[in-house]
Symmetry: C2
Amino acid sequence: MRTSSISNAILKVLESQDDHLTAKEIYEIMKKTFTAVDTSTIYRALERLVHVGKVSVSDMGGTAVVYELVSKNPHHHLVCEKCHKQITFRNEKVSDFLDSIEKESGFQITTNHLVLFGICPECQKKK
Amino acid sequence: MRTSSISNAILKVLESQDDHLTAKEIYEIMKKTFTAVDTSTIYRALERLVHVGKVSVSDMGGTAVVYELVSKNPHHHLVCEKCHKQITFRNEKVSDFLDSIEKESGFQITTNHLVLFGICPECQKKK
DNA sequence: TGTATTATTGAAAATGACTTTCATTATCAA
DNA sequence: TTGATAATGAAAGTCATTTTCAATAATACA
Ligand SMILES: [Mn+2]
Ligand SMILES: [Mn+2]
Ligand SMILES: [Zn+2]
Ligand SMILES: [Zn+2]
């Protein structure tokens, strides 16, 4: 993987946004600087970044998957199926859990951004 | 949700197959009995079955999501990103883990078919 | 240095999983 | 019954993502 300018630019975009972005959202931001950039280039660069582990790709329940920088401080999410609220949790229970699954299975787990779905406390009250 | 024949027929298909099926695969099986059934009907019925918790829907890394009966004996999977091998694990660690996340967050977790990605032992050796 | 090799890119078109619309039919509660 | 509403088939549409292909840029290495 060459250190192409588009990949680096995407990393900068992801660094600047402390949020999950769809490929389209990344594309819209990139267009401001790289006027002629194409969505296919974005997808291909993201694919490479995901492959080398610099970026996570997740289905958070929307129509498109979302990308995010894999930071030093890994985190995970709970997504409410009713109101689509997302909460972030940084929890050593996750890594403990994944470690034990790794030991038991011999798999080297690459899932680095766990997304669990559920019903948030507020929506539970709403019956 | 009415107890429509299509939903019941889909449940029977899922019971008979001890495997994950895509909507298209279910459609192909259903066509043998319901000659005129349409894919949109399949998708709508599956959506209802997922909503009432009878069927799980998961992204196992393929191009289409897969559906499976939610059995009494819940299970989860590890999927190898290299050779696409899938292993099943029934593990109380998962429910313990999810329980603790529920307690901590107040969320009522609906994820009932966890899919974790990784590299299987064989593919690890292949360097 | 060139120069061959290979990765990356933009443009355009294609893919295909899934959804939507709409008119018709089946189910079910009252 | 009957009236409301859910389920269905057919057809068309959506749109996120991929593919193809020719051009260009980055690297290896002679
Ligand atoms: Mn995140
Ligand atoms: Mn399964
Ligand atoms: Zn909620
Ligand atoms: Zn493998």
